[in-house]
């Protein structure tokens, strides 16, 4: 079972190269952006005491820590946006493309069940793609910290203290991993919906995936003048149970004025217990289970060959 899953997931990575090409492209873009910012900052070197990541007015220890963590969060956010696009396109394509090119007949000639196949695609979308994204975030972070360290050292600063001593690397990295993997699990009902559409739609899976929810939401508004459906879907995106009611603005304000010399811990701001005990977490998994079962059923009983 596990050997089959590994082989099936490996197959997904071979077929959908965007899964690893996209994080690599994002990493390159972010790194080039940082280089551009540093070069831009160096143009105003006389006015700057120490410029880090283009945040020219950062002079205090607390502010520098916020800036460093802020850069990390910004990088992570760019990866999260890319993750969202990759996941949507992958989930909608993975069970549709095999029917379109008729390779489903070859895959089904092998002793892998429809359940194993669909579950491998769900695991790819909900776990593997987020995990690859986390690796992308880590690599980008380390590369950019090295680039910045070189730049700071060239300006006469002590990179060991100013950069490496001002950020909790493993705390931040673990937080990034938890955020992206938690997001995959939290969004699993949407992923399962896309998988269902991917195996069910005869054509235009993208349209088939987005049209029914839009029509349903509009119908609710026209008939009842309410927006519960859109609100429910929309608010799921902010992953509230993981961060409670954390406001990004307040987070930076609080961290900026915090006393002491401790580096910023992102893990402190996360509530994993609250996340896994939230009813939304379990109801999401239930919806994911129902839609995944439906996708397996359609792949099993549909005859497109």
């Amino acid at each position: 079972m596990i050997a089959h899953q590994l082989a099936l997931i490996k197959r997904e990575l071979w077929e959908h190269r965007s899964i690893h090409v996209t994080p690599a492209a994002v990493a390159l873009i972010v790194t080039l952006g940082v280089l551009a910012m540093l070069m831009l900052a160096s143009g105003f070197a006389k006015e700057l005491e120490m410029a880090i990541f283009g945040a020219q007015n950062i002079v205090g220890d607390a502010e520098r820590r916020v800036a460093l963590t802020g850069f990390f969060l910004m990088t992570s956010w760019v990866f999260l946006v890319a993750l969202m696009f990759v996941t949507v396109f992958y989930s909608l394509d993975c069970l549709y493309a095999e029917r379109k090119d008729k390779s489903i007949l070859f895959w089904r000639s092998m002793p892998a069940t429809d359940a194993e196949t669909v579950i491998s695609k769900l695991l790819t979308a909900a776990i593997v793609i987020p995990a690859i994204t986390a690796v992308g975030i880590w690599v980008t972070h380390i590369v950019n910290l090295i680039v910045t360290s070189i730049w700071v050292s060239a300006k006469g600063g002590d990179a060991g203290v100013l950069i490496w001593g001002s950020i909790s690397l493993f705390d931040n990295w673990l937080a990034a991993l938890l955020i992206v993997v938690a997001s995959g699990i939290w969004m699993s009902p949407f992923i399962a919906w896309f998988l269902f559409v991917s195996t069910w739609a005869s054509r235009m899976p993208m349209l088939m995936a987005f049209m029914p929810p839009i029509v349903l939401g509009l119908l609710e508004w026209i008939v009842f003048r309410t927006q519960y459906f859109f609100t429910t879907i929309g608010t799921r995106g902010d992953m509230t149970p993981l961060f409670h009611s954390l406001s990004v603005e307040r987070f930076f304000k609080e961290e900026q004025w915090r006393d002491g010399v401790q580096n910023i811990s992102l893990l402190e701001h996360m509530d994993l217990v609250g996340f896994v005990t939230d009813p939304g977490f379990w109801s999401g998994l239930l919806v994911c289970g129902i839609l995944t079962t439906a996708a397996i059923y359609v792949r099993r009983y549909r005859d497109d060959s």
């Binding site: 050997a3 089959h4 590994l6 082989a7 099936l8 490996k10 197959r11 071979w14 077929e15 095999e98 090119d101 008729k102 390779s103 489903i104 007949l105 070859f106 895959w107 089904r108 000639s109 092998m110 002793p111 892998a112 069940t113 009983y301 005859d303 060959s305």
Partner: protein
């Protein structure tokens, strides 16, 4: 003899269309069975039922398994080529070998690589870079490296030129087939496979018109070429089909004793293609 496939009263409907209609047959170990039928006869549907790709009514057992409900177990001992185009175009040759090796317990990678070495297929090439013939060679190499009890081939040489077709069947017979293995094959190019078949089955409108071993075909069916009064006498014996060739009447008889026909003209065993045409025409009367 052991029955690998046991079908009794098998039917399959698509809406109001009856694709397979109350079909019963057995396939024994060590046979090469040709399933022949015109387009829309129900042969692909029947193959899909055998492969567990579609559910059906009636009793169907393949290698002792219910093919639709025990597909995973079945697929460990059965393999099929549905069409030359089904290999995913994006995959590399080495990747497809990796995948089958990980998924199939009866796959021998070294055997597949040995077979591929006899072709021009390179391990680093993607399927989309290969010619149609090379894709078939790749697919056949994979299939032949699987120690399966039943091989199902649905139009395996469709779209290939005569050289590849001949090579395909030669490889199948020389490098794969033995008395422990069974092959079920459908094709329109019936002339090319009739010499390798041990058994034959005709299907039309979802019903089986003929189910016979090739050895006994000549006992049941006789072709007679006759002219003049002899032809007239032969007509009285009730041929199932008659055509004209070079001024002679060519008649096909079913179940008529050879002794009755001797002396009326040239007698021979009909070709599968001629027999097929005659049976289909008879069924459509």
């Amino acid at each position: 003899m052991t029955s690998l496939v046991d079908a009794r009263g098998v039917s399959k409907n698509f809406g109001s269309t009856r694709a397979v209609d109350n079909v019963s047959f057995e396939i024994e170990k060590g046979k090469i069975l040709g399933l022949i039928g015109p387009n829309g006869a129900g042969k692909t549907t029947l193959l899909k039922a055998v492969l567990g790709l579609t559910d059906c009514e009636g009793h169907l057992s393949v290698l002792g398994f219910d093919p639709f409900r025990q597909r995973k177990q079945l697929m460990q001992n059965i393999c099929f080529i549905a069409d030359v185009a089904v290999l995913p175009r994006w995959i590399k040759v080495s990747q497809i070998l990796d995948y089958v090796e990980a998924i199939h317990p009866n796959f021998s990678r070294s055997r597949a690589e040995g077979l591929l070495q006899q072709t021009k297929v390179q391990a680093g090439a993607r399927v989309k870079e290969l010619s149609k013939g090379m894709v078939t060679q790749l697919h056949l190499s994979i299939i032949m490296a699987i120690d399966a009890k039943l091989l199902v081939l649905d139009e395996p040489t469709l779209g290939l030129d005569i050289l590849f077709r001949k090579e395909f069947y030669a490889n199948l017979l020389n490098d794969y087939f033995d008395e422990e293995r069974t092959i079920l094959i459908t094709t329109h190019q019936v002339e090319e496979i009739e010499n390798l078949l041990t058994d034959i089955m005709f299907i039309n409108d979802g019903k089986i018109l003929l189910d016979s071993s090739m050895d006994t075909l000549g006992d049941t069916y006789i072709e007679l070429q006759a002219s003049g009064d002899d032809a007239q006498k032969a007509r009285g014996l009730g041929p199932i089909a008659e055509s004209e060739m070079f001024g002679k009447s060519v008649m096909l008889f079913e179940g008529v004793s050879r002794e009755h026909l001797v002396g009326l003209g040239d007698i021979r065993i009909p070709s599968v293609a001629d027999l097929f045409v005659a049976k289909i025409k008879e069924a459509r009367k």
